[in-house]
Structures are given as C-alpha cells and as structure tokens.
C-alpha cells in the first residue's frame, strides 16, 4: 500500500503549501483517479509517491518503507513506477528500445528477459515496429506512449500516471486505459492523474484536490452527482454527463453518473 499520512509540502521559496495536509492510500488491485484544477497539487502529490519529493511534515510509506529513509530509496523506485507529465523529462535512450530497456536494466533484469519485457511493453502501448526510431523523431503522442512503456517494463507493483493521456488521441487514451485495467486485474495499484473526468467513470475511487487539500474522496457516482462541488473546485461534468443532467431536469429517468453514450441511451430506450 502507498500510504500518505497528514502530508504537507512547500516548494523552496513558495509562500503557500503545494500539499496542505493530505492523507490517502492506494492499494494493490485498485485504480484511483486523481483530479483537480491546474495548480491544485496533483503533480506534486504524484512525485511524492516514489520519493522524488519528500514531505516537510507527515509521512509517505510504500509497503511500510518510508520515502524519507534514504536506505530504501532504490527499493521504493523499483516498486513505484512514475510516468511524468512531460515525457521529454523522462526519455533517456538514443533509440526507442534502448529507452524502454533502461529502467529494467538498472534493476538487474537478465538480458533474455529484458528483450521480452521491452517487446511486451512496446506492444502494450502500440509502438511495436518503432524499436530503432530515435525518440526525438517521434510525435508528441508517440513520446507519451514511450514514457509509459518505459515504466511498464519495470513491472512495478504501483504505477502513477501523471496526465499520461493528455497528448493522446481518443484511441490512444482508450488503449492506455485498457492497459491500466489489465494492470489492475494483475494486482497492480494505479494512481491516474487526469483532466478527463470521463476517465474517472470506471475507477474504483476518485480523489479531487483543491489548493493542495483533498476536497473529495469517494466513488465516481458520488462525485458526478455533486455538480456544485465540481464547479467550486474548478472542474465540470464531462459533456455526456451534462446532457444526462439536463435530461434529468426535464423529468426523464437517467442515471447520475453515465459512464458512456451506451449507458445513457440504454436508460432512455430500455
């Protein structure tokens, strides 16, 4: 479990806290979606999950190991994969396959298995065939997929995706969401930071941050039915959920959290 206990953090020289008293946990086998306006602290929180940032107050532990304990830093990095918001900050290899191999190689994965892991990771994100391409010749969406493949190849127990679908086309987004669901089934814990509230529809839990504090922690249905809360923290219902709300106002019987167009239409024409 990744466990945040009353965590506070300020960037050096900043006059307000980027994380202002957050307690939360992420267990293996669940997908938790983290939403919040720009600047609410999502990336800061993501970077605390694997010890890239250490709390000023409170604690973050990964399966009992404290991220402030330098002796376990390596074990924590191996256990928590972090896909950064900007893939350019993450890409190190001179060609695609080398970049993906970099992480597991550092973990001491033997050569034969390395090949398998790299191929599987590239296939999972739809980059097979581009093994020898230089990363700087990839489109932005392809770079984002590459960053995801790099984290997948390390097979960490927990994975944190910081807006990893932002640059992807809808199909790419669906592919990555499918990868997350597969990881969940295999027992991995996923923290997914996103601006697409509709990505939250099939999460186990949604956490909303506002000004560095938790404004909501519950099911997607609960969040979608509280439009007042959403607006107050600078978010809004996805378009389809807005349609459902408008239809409910006009007296039609449709559910609060419509996950997709299919379920909306089935509610209207059973």
């Amino acid at each position: 479990m990744i466990d945040f206990q009353r965590v506070r953090y300020s960037y050096p020289g900043a006059d307000s806290q980027a994380i202002a008293g957050v307690s939360l946990c992420l267990s293996p086998g669940e997908i938790v979606v983290l939403v919040g306006a720009n600047g609410s602290g999502k990336s800061t929180l993501a970077r605390m999950c694997n010890g890239l940032l250490i709390p000023d107050e409170g604690s973050v532990t990964v399966d009992g190991m404290d991220t402030s304990d330098g002796k376990v830093a390596f074990d924590i990095r191996a256990r928590v994969g972090l896909v950064l918001q900007n893939p350019d900050n993450q890409i190190v290899g001179t060609v695609v396959e080398e970049d993906v191999a970099f992480g597991p190689e550092n973990l001491g994965v033997p050569c034969a298995e390395l090949r398998v892991r790299v191929d599987e990771a590239l296939a999972a994100v739809g980059l097979s065939g581009l093994e020898r391409r230089e990363p700087h010749l990839l489109s932005e969406g392809q770079k984002q997929r590459l960053a995801i493949a790099g984290a997948l190849a390390m097979q960490p127990r927990y994975m944190v995706f910081d807006e990893s679908t932002a640059m992807l086309d809808p199909q790419g987004r669906r592919d990555v969401l499918a990868v997350m669901r597969k990881l969940r089934v295999a027992g991995h814990g996923i923290l997914h930071v996103t601006h697409h509230l509709d990505d939250a529809a099939d999460a186990d839990r949604v956490i909303a941050l506002a000004s560095g504090a938790i404004a909501f922690d519950g099911t997607p249905e609960e969040l979608f039915s509280d439009e007042g809360l959403l607006v107050s923290i600078g978010l809004e219902l996805p378009p389809l959920a807005s349609v459902a709300t408008a239809l409910r106002r006009s007296g039609l019987d449709v559910p609060v959290a419509v996950a997709n167009a299919q379920s909306l239409v089935e509610a209207l024409w059973p």
């Binding site: 720009n38 640059m167 987004r173 509230l197 909306l264 024409w269």
Partner: protein
Amino acid sequence: MALTVQSLGFTYEVGTSIAAPVLEEISLQVQAGEIVVCVGATGSGKSTLLRLCAGLLKPVGGSVLVDGSPANTKGSVGIVFQNPEAQFFAETVEADVAFGPRNLGIADIEGAVDDALDSVGLDPDIYKPRSPFTLSGGEARRVAIAGVLAMRTPYLLLDEPTAGLDPLGRRAVLRSLVGLSGRVGILVVTHDADEFMPIADRVFALHEGKALFDGKPGAMAERPDVWEKAGLSLPSLVLAQHLARQRGALIPEVALDVEGTARVLSAARVVCS
C-alpha cells in the same frame, strides 16, 4: 483571401531509411476569418501539416500559399506549438508578448500587446507586469497564444491548444478562439472533438498522411465510417445520438453541443413513447 494548401506532400529525412511519406496530396483551404478543425490519430501528420502551413518546413511536393504568397513570408501565419508555455523566457508577460511584434518591426508594440491580451480575455493592466512563470495553466496557455496574436498575422495555427488544461482553462481558450473568428483565419489541431465541433466552420480529417474528410462539422457528425477509418472515436455526444437512432429514435439532424444533444434526445424520446 485564404491560406491554400495545394496537393501538398512531405517526407522527413529524404534519402534515409525512415524516409516514408508523412503527408500525401493534401489540399485544404482556410478562408479568412473561419475556424477549421483538424482531427486525426497520433502520428497521422497533423503537427507536420501545421509546420508546413507556417513555412517552417519546405514541401516535398505541392504548395502552401497565404493570400497568394508563399507561406514563408514573415508575418502572415502565426503558429502556437504544443505546450507553448514551455518557451516563456522573459521576466514579465508584457516583455514575453512583445517579443514577436518587436522582431517583426511592428510600429505600435504597446497596442499590439494590449489587443492580444484583450483577445484572450486577460486584462492587460493586471497581467502585463506579472511573471509568466507564476501563471495558472489556462492563463499561461492564453499568454502564449497572445504572444503569437500580437504579431497580427491574418492566419493562426494552433496545435492542441487545450491539451493538459483544466475545464476552466479549456473554456477560456475556446472562448478566445470564437472571439478571434471573423478577424483571423484559424486552423486548429485537436483531440477534443466534443468541445471543438460546435465552434468549427469546417472539419478536416487526416489518416496516415492523407485527407479523409473535409466538410461541415454537421456532415462529419453524420459519418461514423470516417471517424472509424481515421482511428478516432465518435465524440461522445454524437455517438449517443447515433446509438439512439439505432434504437429507433427519430433524429433528423445530429446536434453537436450539450444543449442541442439534450434537446434532440428528449424530443426523440417524447415522439417515441
């Protein structure tokens, strides 16, 4: 008056092993003052098309003409790259936005900066003295757009201008683009079809470097086959209306925005039952 792309072709690294054509036989027009929305899967060539339209890359075949002149004429086409705020460098918003017009030798730089900030809904008096590095995501993106607008180019190209923004930031950028239409011809690449279809005059779909569709957004909404071939999913609102039709709902014309979709679905439901 138009930005005219004629039988455009392009290949990166001509003569190397990866020299596959990235764009083939692309023809497209952005009339002065209209908004053309370009959609396509990752790697379909959208960013490359924008770079060619801005004159940053040279066509391998065909041409790009801006009001009749070649695209590389300084001052005719502005381009806002993906994540443009990564390129802020000045200490104040004012200096950052003034950089482009100063380089072009525009006479009234102060006026150009004020107009540009006004156009994106940022009060010049409040924002000019601020450091660009302390802005929120939506503010920063709009300042970056203002930096390009300040060059007063008649055409504006934008590469995924709402990606990574929260809902308020996305709404602010959309509003800015609507406000500019009529004055500036806009070609915008996006994955947010739900949000951009309602403001588009035309939609242009790319698939593996080839044109797949060019027409009104309403017509594109009636073509699920085009979305599928392009490797894109139908925008959720449009999809809901197609699914309703499959269940026998009478929907004469697919709506593009939230209000329209709610109206269409509830009307169809009433007729049905």
